[in-house]
């Protein structure tokens, strides 16, 4: 048993944290988050040069990390500084590309290398407007037409899609909307004819887009990975995304807790600091307890991310995302309440942390989704 980070990971966290503290101040972040581009090419490249993207990928994939704890260390710092750069998409799409590259797709492998060095941003487009709460609901269809694939469908709230030079898009080559079988992945250039994006700002900063695929014609090698057998790779990528989001939430919760604590110590009412009131002290303690429990959940999820026992791995991931969903919303709502009126303002950094924490529960399945998934996984194992 050992809960210490390795020296390498501590150094990684330190160098990222120093960069963000010095270069990615809250004012900088605010400008980037509200910008038309929704991220910063300059900082993205600088962070890539610092090795932050490489840390998210294994050596076999061209990086130097890629384990659960590498993701956790990086994303906790990103959360602490409320970074809006396309890291989550890079984890999702990058893993899918790298896996497809391993399976023999040269196009995917070449692009994976460019993603890991920060030269290209690729986005994974998976969820759909008909059933945005369901991770498996894919109606987008891919059909063969001679040597080509034709894609038709819609994709919902694709983060940083406008920044992407290409998209990894899930589509059905067989099966019904919620089947695990019959899903395939396609690599689609951002300028493909028939692909249209409607971009928009997100409430917690950065940008997303709705995708419309109208008879998008692709070359045969646009199919990356096995036809109809993409779900295992998608599940593994989503798992990495869950660890990333949970760790990001942990960093954001910790920052929100510190800001709130500081406010309770400084703000005076009735002739004393707010922190002197026991009613507020106990609420603050509650946040601390929930954050500690959440940290345990994230550690477990990071430790199990590469476990080949699917039930153990996926249950740990769902436990973490459920725990983070609960704790993140509590911290966000309580932090605003404990700040009072000032917590309602756009001006205060805390309010942006609260928005991010709430929105993390809207990404890759919310607390209810993962609670149900955890129960279903337990039943499946009991039945098996």
């Amino acid at each position: 048993m050992n809960f210490e980070l390795t020296e390498d990971r501590r150094m990684l966290a330190d160098s990222l944290s120093r960069y963000l503290r010095e270069q990615y101040t809250f004012d900088t972040r605010r400008q980037i988050a509200e910008s038309a581009q929704g991220y910063s090419s300059t900082h993205w490249q600088a962070l890539a040069d610092l090795g932050i993207i490489g840390a998210l990928f294994s050596e076999a994939h061209g990086g130097y990390g890629g384990k659960g704890f590498d993701l956790a260390v990086v994303f906790e710092e990103l959360g602490r500084a409320l970074v809006v750069e396309p890291f989550l998409q890079t984890v999702l799409a990058g893993r899918l590309l790298a896996a497809a590259g391993e399976a023999g797709s040269r196009a995917a492998q070449a692009l994976a290398e460019r993603v890991i060095t920060g030269q290209d941003i690729v986005a994974f487009a998976h969820g759909e407007p008909q059933a945005p709460l369901d991770a498996l609901h894919v109606c987008t269809r891919a059909t063969r037409s001679g040597p080509h694939w034709i894609l038709t469908g819609q994709k919902a709230v694709v983060w940083q899609a406008e920044a992407a030079s290409a998209l990894v898009i899930s589509a059905r080559t067989a099966g019904d909307p919620t089947d695990t079988e019959g899903l395939s992945l396609f690599l689609v250039p951002a300028d493909a004819a028939g692909l249209s994006l409607r971009g928009y700002p997100l409430i917690d900063g950065g940008r997303g887009a709705e995708l419309e695929l109208d008879q998008v014609q692709l070359e045969a090698d646009a199919l990356i990975g096995p036809e109809g057998g993409a779900w295992p790779a998608i599940e593994r990528a989503l798992g990495a995304g869950i660890v990333a989001l949970c760790a990001e939430a942990l960093g954001a919760m910790d920052a929100a807790r510190q800001m709130t604590l500081q406010y309770l110590q400084e703000r005076r009412q009735f002739g004393q600091p707010l922190g002197a009131f026991q009613a507020l002290q106990h609420r603050m303690v509650e946040l601390l307890l929930e954050i500690e429990q959440a940290r345990s959940a994230v550690i477990r999820a990071a430790a199990e991310l590469d476990n080949d026992n699917a039930q153990v791995r996926e249950q740990a991931l769902s436990m973490a995302k459920y725990t983070i969903g609960q704790a993140g919303c509590l911290v966000a709502e309580e932090a605003i309440q404990l700040h009072g009126g000032i917590g309602m303002t756009w001006e205060l950094p805390l309010s942006h942390y609260a928005k991010r924490l709430i929105m993390i529960d809207h990404q890759l399945g919310d607390a209810d989704f993962h609670l149900q998934r955890y129960i279903a996984l337990g039943r499946a194992s009991a039945a098996g």
């Binding site: 048993m1 603050m284 345990s296 959940a297 550690i299 477990r300 609670l371 955890y374 129960i375």
Partner: protein, 398 residues
């Protein structure tokens, strides 16, 4: 990061399991599993079995007859015992007084009292709370006045757990009423058989006789029974409390209780299907299961953090709140699972050798009594509100 036990720790766990398989009497674990009240003989027999193996005093150094275990070994031992439905060890002598004597007692006190704790010659109870001193423990008024070679004690203690079995009580008494609250308190060892000591039962809401009131009227206590220095008792009391709170999360108890819940919910039927398939009940179960998994790891993180030495401070407060919340929720779910069979209260069926036949599912008999009894978890050992005060002060600087 490595969440697995080391090979040495796994070996230790196997040793503990083998010991429990060989030495824990089946009749005893069956009584624990079925929620019976354990009598003095039950508790004493487990105490003796542990002592015979040399595994009784898990907090004591080897030189005093302790195990010398590190915190991880203690955690493993306590969890395995709970999972095997072993009775709890009575903590007052072994886990509370023992460490205080080892740290603050004279050589003569150690030589006299420590072996008697191990061999069961003395059954200790704890004289801390008073009617006017609960959460505000330092407000205690039980008075001890020096009279030659004795102290004369007058006053009252309450919530004295298993005091009806005890022949000795360690007490916090006021020796200097003029000093500030914490400064005038001393730590005194009192023979319960002395003239002037009276024990009266307090029956709790579950019908159990677990706690007592103890009255002292002109009780003469030899001065050599003072531990440490006069008026420094508060320091020793706080030291003892850190030990009272070591296994405070009760992770093993929760794991064992959740297993019982899971087994029962798989067999009980609601709306024509197993209770664990019911969407609302399975969600309640899943929530507490996840909380418990998280707490197990939180507990291990705390242990790893204090493994370098020292007793946990604020961390034990965190574990106490989380742990008792989870234990209470599990007993609450067990009660819900019984539906109408939570109502029958056949007290005799809960006694260790009670002859009465329970009604309804065999698991139903103790659950409501346990549910009500377990309300104590968030009250004793420093109420959960007091724990929040401690965390606020230590962690938040508020």
């Amino acid at each position: 990061m490595d969440l697995n036990f080391t090979p040495e720790e796994e070996q230790f766990r196997d040793q503990v399991r083998a010991f429990l398989a060989a030495e824990l009497p089946a009749s005893l674990s069956a009584r624990v599993a079925s929620g019976k009240h354990l009598g003095k003989q039950d508790l004493q027999s487990w105490h003796d079995i542990l002592n015979a193996r040399g595994w009784l005093a898990s907090h004591w150094p080897v030189e005093y007859g302790g195990t010398g275990w590190n915190p991880i070994e203690r955690f493993i031992f306590e969890n395995e015992c709970a999972l095997a439905n072993a009775p709890r060890t009575i903590p007052f002598g072994v886990n509370m007084l023992g460490p205080v004597l080892i740290r603050y007692g004279t050589e003569a006190q150690k030589r006299h009292w420590l072996p008697r704790i191990l061999n069961g010659a003395d059954w200790w109870c704890q004289g801390y709370s008073e009617p006017g001193a609960g959460s505000d423990l330092a407000a205690l008024q039980c008075r001890a006045v020096r009279d030659g070679a004795h102290y004369v004690v007058n006053g009252q203690k309450t919530w004295t757990t298993l005091g009806q079995y005890a022949n000795m009580i360690f007490c916090l008494v006021r020796t200097d009423p003029a000093a500030k609250k914490q400064a005038g308190i001393s730590f005194l060892l009192i023979d319960m058989n002395s003239p002037g000591v009276e024990v009266r039962p307090i029956i709790t809401l579950d019908g159990a006789h677990e706690v007592n009131e103890v009255f002292f009227t002109d009780v003469r206590v030899p001065a050599e029974n003072l531990v440490g220095e006069e008026n420094r008792g508060w320091t020793y009391a706080k030291y003892l409390l850190t030990y009272e709170r070591t296994n405070i999360a009760g992770t093993g108890y929760s794991m064992a209780a959740f297993e019982r819940l899971r087994n029962y919910a798989a067999r009980a039927v609601k709306n024509g299907r197993p209770l664990d398939q019911d969407p609302l009940f399975s969600a309640r179960m899943a929530r507490v299961a996840i909380d418990l998994e998280n707490m197990k790891l939180t507990n291990l993180r705390v242990i790893a953090a204090v493994a370098g030495g020292g007793a946990p401070g604020m961390e034990s407060s965190i574990l106490k709140i989380c742990g008792t919340r989870i234990r209470q929720e599990i007993t609450s779910l067990m009660r819900r699972a019984m539906g109408p069979y939570a109502q029958p209260f056949i007290a005799d069926a809960l006694q260790s050798d009670g002859p009465a036949t329970p009604v309804g599912p065999v698991e139903a008999a103790p659950v409501s009594a346990q549910y009500f009894n377990n309300r104590k978890l968030s009250i004793y050992g420093g109420s959960n509100e007091i724990q929040r005060n401690i965390i606020a002060k230590m962690a938040l600087g508020l």
